[in-house]
Amino acid sequence: MKLIEILLIIVAAAIVVSVAAVAVINRKKGRNSCGCDCSSCGCNCCASKTREAKSDDETKKLPQ
């Protein structure tokens, strides 16, 4: 097998694995894998949820 063909296999496998991994991670985080770009459709459901989680952490750390 040529080098470029081995490279091709690696790249193709990487694409499939990473897309699947991102989808699984999103699901675990409770984010729905919003198919549509949320900033464009006024939902921002994914973005706001992750930020919420983050800000929650921050407030926990800070003594109030």
């Binding site: 193709a12 694409i15 894998s33 198919g35 770009d37 900033s39 006024g42």
Partner: protein
């Protein structure tokens, strides 16, 4: 980081202000209720960075719809450092009604008097200083659109956030003064936060409040007994609303000096509405607008100029040589715009994109790969697996963008809200309100935002029914399936007209939606028709910048999807179709021994009643693969076709002349599939119908799950989608193949409806 919340009535320009402040590109529209969830951005021009939160629009702090609850909860529970209350200066009284409620919360606030430019253009004047004095809250004049007064606003808000503010009420002079005062003292004694706000809401009898303070209720009832009003008796809700508005029109509104003294002024919007929502012309105009949009996007005979002037085709003019190729490069460009008829803008955009850009580019790459000396499987994976799949999806960008542009214009101008007004009565017949129209029409763009937008619907059952039928409003990703298969039918069978098939399928989707709403509202989701009380926003010219932002976002999303989910799916499908169960590489001709063939042949019989199952023989499973891949994302259907079509051409003994399998629109891939499997027109149409009405895509399913709230309702929804698609496409197939079946189906449908009607009547009588 300090947090400023933007609160105000729907459609008062909160999101425009949010975008201007934070440099975001959130979606802005001209109908009440575009923003249905809160979102955050950062404003950097203050002394310290400020987190700005855009909340859904609300008319009052007693919520009515799910998205209004979000806004109230945020202000009360998250305690922003400052609330920026955006007040539409052109609609002062109603906007200040919310202001008088936010004032009662112990939170620093400033008022942003928005749309000052529009107000002053109309010749009216407003005295912001005087208003500030009377409200005892900083007031800043701004124009969110023209980005005027924003720095001043943020400066004042920053100053205000440093000073504690105690809630104040305008009801202090009303008859309720003592009652509210007593409840407030009682609540303060219980260490309740924001005692004044809760006191007022409790006296009002606000649902959320009453259930949150059950233990205080008996005491309040005691207080209430001592109270009696001459006009309202003991209708505390009316008393408080009345008190607020009386105070506003007495004390606050006089700061606004109108040019005209008349009570009811006729604005330009009103004049436009006289025609657009006319009693007779309203509906024809609406239909004309819809037709115009489809004509401008899809027609290959723009304004029928070709037919009217009997224009010559390029062949007649001698610009095409015997091989069917343009004689020079200039003619190729001309062919994008004209051939016997002028093309519509959508088609021109499409031709230029595909013939001159995508086709050239990918053709060049594929040529390079072929000559690179890589082995057969490697060129196959790159050219047929990846490039054919991705380019077949990318090639639909122009159509999707054109259609999306027109819908954005309708939305931005304020016409969408009028459509709800025009169609409400029709919608009520189906048990929905005109408001449900908005998420439905958004469904033509993408189901995900459409499903989320159903939050503007106040009624839970109406919401569920609407979410379930949204996928039937064929989204942008389903368009490629439609045009490719319709194109394939016309090209192979030489029957019909691709445009008519496309329109027809859109109509079939709408019809399915209407019927299923009717059936659902008659059976599982019975309920009163929800009320319809909605603001009609003034018309305004669509903002060019805004439109471009919408389009840019859509493009970004589409391209991103093509290079992630679609590319991964096509690679998987290619691998599964080119390897046998013992992991031996198979050439294109041998796809029938592949893993994919083995698996999907198992499923093939299920689809027999739908016309694309076992009757298609040994290669029929390719349609099954497309349909199943489509459950992940509908773009996959056509990407799968492109990959498998290339294999089918290679299947031995095929005689496909004049076929360009690498064409970007997927039509030739469909032709190859038709030729190999021998599928007929009814089966193909049924195939489109199946894809249009079945489970839309992973993203939409996840969104529906989140929005429906209950697990059982979500599972029923999935079942509903599967069942509907199965029934609809078997109907299409059987009626298409054997027309007499129409009688059977009509009888069955009539039977079901009659059964529901009779049963519901019996239930009513019993009650």
């Amino acid at each position: 980081m300090i947090k400023f919340a933007l609160a105000g009535n729907p459609n008062c320009g909160k999101t425009t202000l949010f975008n201007s402040l934070t440099g975001s590109t959130a979606h802005v529209g001209n109908w009440p209720g575009v923003t249905v969830d809160k979102r955050e951005g950062i404003y950097k021009k203050c002394e310290e960075p400020v987190s700005v939160i855009d909340l859904p629009g609300i008319y009052s702090l007693s919520p009515y719809t799910p998205e209004e609850v979000i806004a109230r909860k945020y202000i009360l529970d998250e305690k922003p450092d400052c609330v920026i209350n955006i007040v539409d200066a052109t609609n002062l009284e109603r906007n200040l009604y919310l202001t008088t409620q936010i004032m009662e919360i112990d939170v620093p606030m400033v008022i942003a008097l928005n749309m000052i430019d529009a107000l002053e253009k109309a010749g009216d004047k407003i005295d912001a200083k005087e208003l500030e004095k009377r409200l005892n809250i900083p007031v800043v004049k701004i124009s969110a659109l023209k980005e005027q007064g924003l720095d001043e606003l943020m400066k004042r808000a920053y100053e205000a956030s440093k000073i504690e503010r105690k809630g104040e009420t305008v009801l202090g002079e009303s008859a309720l003064k003592h009652l509210i005062g007593d409840v407030r003292i009682a609540l303060s004694g219980q260490n309740v936060e924001n005692p004044l706000f809760h006191a007022v809401k409790l006296v009002e009898g606000d649902e959320l409040e009453v259930s949150a303070h059950k233990e205080t209720l008996p005491m309040i009832d005691e207080f209430k007994k001592t109270f009696k009003d001459d006009v309202f008796g003991t209708d505390f809700e009316a008393l408080i609303a009345d008190g607020r508005y009386k105070y506003i029109s007495g004390k606050f509104s006089p700061v606004l000096k109108r040019k005209s003294e008349a009570k009811f002024v006729e604005s330009r919007s009103d004049k436009a509405d006289k025609v657009i929502t006319h009693r007779v012309w309203g509906i024809p105009i609406f239909l004309l607008v819809l037709f115009a949009i489809f004509h401008l996007t899809f027609s290959e005979n723009f304004l029928y100029l070709g037919s009217i002037f009997n224009l010559p085709t390029l062949e007649d003019a001698g610009l095409i040589n015997a091989e069917g190729e343009a004689i020079n490069y200039g003619v190729r460009w001309l062919a994008c715009i004209y051939d016997g008829a002028v093309y519509s803008p959508g088609v021109i955009f499409n031709n230029i994109w595909n013939d001159m850009i995508v086709g050239e580019l990918f053709g060049f790459i594929q040529g390079g790969v072929e000559n690179s000396g890589m082995s057969e499987w490697a060129t196959g994976l790159i050219n047929n697996g990846i490039i054919d799949g991705v380019s077949s999806v990318l090639s639909f960008l122009p159509w999707i963008l054109t259609l999306f542009l027109f819908f954005s214009i309708l939305e931005d101008s304020g016409y969408m809200a009028r459509i709800a007004f025009i169609l409400d009565k029709m919608f009520r017949k189906f048990g929905l309100s005109g408001r449900a129209f908005m998420p439905m029409i958004m469904g033509f763009g993408c189901s995900v935002p459409a499903i989320i937008n159903t939050r503007t619907l106040a009624d839970e059952k109406e919401r569920t029914a609407t979410i379930r039928v949204i996928p039937f409003f064929s989204c942008g990703a389903k368009l490629p399936i439609l045009t490719a298969i319709a194109g394939g039918i016309v090209a192979y069978f030489g029957v019909g007209n691709a445009d008519i098939i496309t329109y027809g399928m859109y109509l079939l989707g709408i019809l399915t939606a209407v019927l299923s709403v009717l059936i659902m509202r008659g059976t599982t989701l019975k309920g009163e028709t929800p009320p319809f009380i909605m603001e009609l926003p003034a018309y305004h010219a669509p903002q060019f910048k805004n439109l471009m932002l919408h389009l840019w976002d859509k493009t970004k999303h589409f391209v991103k999807k093509a290079f992630t989910i679609i590319i991964a799916s096509t690679i998987v499908i290619w691998v599964l179709t080119h390897f046998s169960f013992n992991w031996k590489y198979l050439a294109d001709e041998q796809i029938n021994q592949s893993i994919m063939a083995g698996i999907s042949q198992l499923f093939q019989p299920i689809f027999t009643p739908l016309g694309f199952g076992s009757q298609l023989g040994e290669y029929g499973w390719v349609f099954v693969v497309g349909a199943i891949a489509g459950l992940i994302a509908k773009e996959n259907v056509i990407a799968t076709f492109a990959t498998l079509g290339a294999c089918l051409v290679a299947v031995a003994g095929l005689d496909i002349t004049g076929l360009d399998i690498n064409s970007e629109d997927g039509i030739d891939a469909v032709r190859a599939m038709i030729q190999v499997t021998g599928i007929g027109v009814p089966g193909l149409i049924a195939y489109i119908a199946f894809n249009m009405t079945t489970i839309p895509c992973f993203a939409a399913v996840a969104t529906a799950k989140a929005e429906l709230g209950s697990k059982s309702r979500y599972k029923l929804t999935l079942l509903f989608w599967l069942l509907t698609s199965y029934i609809v496409s078997s109907l299409v197939y059987t009626v298409g193949s054997w027309p007499w079946c129409a009688v059977l189906w009509a009888a069955a449908l009539a039977g079901v409806i009659a059964f529901i009607v009779v049963r519901n009547k019996n239930v009513k009588i019993k009650e």
